[in-house]
Symmetry: C2
Subunit: 144 residues, 2 copies
DNA sequence: GAATATATTTAGCAACGCTAATTAAAAGGC
DNA sequence: GCCTTTTAATTAGCGTTGCTAAATATATTC
């Protein structure tokens, strides 16, 4: 569980590190005044432009009825808006309100700044290594 | 949001990458037959030895009543056991059963193997960079 | 035009989060 | 040695977030 001589050992440590990292920054979300499912869905809405409910559910790895209710809540809180797609009137297009964008960006900023404060403990060389690793990890995760 | 000239940009990308990584491996948990809160608590119980309920709740960033119920479920499923601490009879000590240990390790293995399969797409040099970045990130996160 | 497929919602249930209040044991003050 | 206060856990009751099954409305296909 400690040595990283195999790819599987490295995967184990990378996995644990990702868990710890998100657990660390999650503490900042208390100040956001919005639950985790809503915050996460709002993120996809803000950065993914107008989205259909099905696509949004898929992106969040959640079933459509679950997402329908989350969007209800986001609408009730004035953070997102539904309007029917005119090309296919069965479907809805969901987009963020100005308030939704600002709530999301502030929440994200809190997390990121908190994490950045930790990273500043490291040397330039160490930061460069993380930068390069982030690129590699994203490459490994591309298309399934 | 794209360039990484500042520590904050790097934190942003690292944060996003961690989210995507965990979202990727989470798909494997469907086969575990146990909810995420229980699985995560079981992990602390297995690797953190016998723990009090309060400590377990703190480790999982959850309130004691929530953890009490999760431990109820783990006991009902035969994955963990409570017994009262003899030094302080208000407190309980929670530990994993043999079945709890095996359920956790299999679940973890599924996640880790899935992630390892993705990492094998990378070169040795890229894996070395990730290895080194993991160490740096853990260093940055040490003690708060 | 009828049958089928697709997008979303509604209904109802389980798991997980919370706060407030209760119970039981330990620790401290006098 | 009592009596108060503190601490550990649980119970009660509520809101959110996950699911499946069924309903509704629109598109598509034959």
């Amino acid at each position: 569980m400690v040595k990283a001589h195999t790819t599987e050992d490295l995967a184990d440590r990378l996995h644990s590190t990702a868990i710890r990292l998100l657990r660390l920054v999650r503490v900042q979300d208390a100040a956001a005044g919005i639950g985790p499912a809503r915050l996460s869905a709002l993120s996809v809405i803000v950065f993914g432009g107008p989205v259909s409910l099905n696509d949004l559910a898929r992106a969040e790895q959640v079933r459509p009825p679950t997402m329908s209710r989350i969007v209800d809540a986001l609408e009730a809180e004035g953070l997102a808006r539904r309007h029917t797609n005119q090309q296919d009137r069965r479907a809805v297009l969901i987009e963020a309100t100005a308030r939704g964008v600002s709530v999301l960006k502030l929440g994200r900023q809190r997390r990121v700044r908190f994490l950045a404060a930790h990273l500043r403990r490291l040397s330039e060389a160490e930061l460069k290594r993380i930068e390069s690793a982030v690129r590699a990890i994203q490459k490994a995760m591309q298309q399934g």
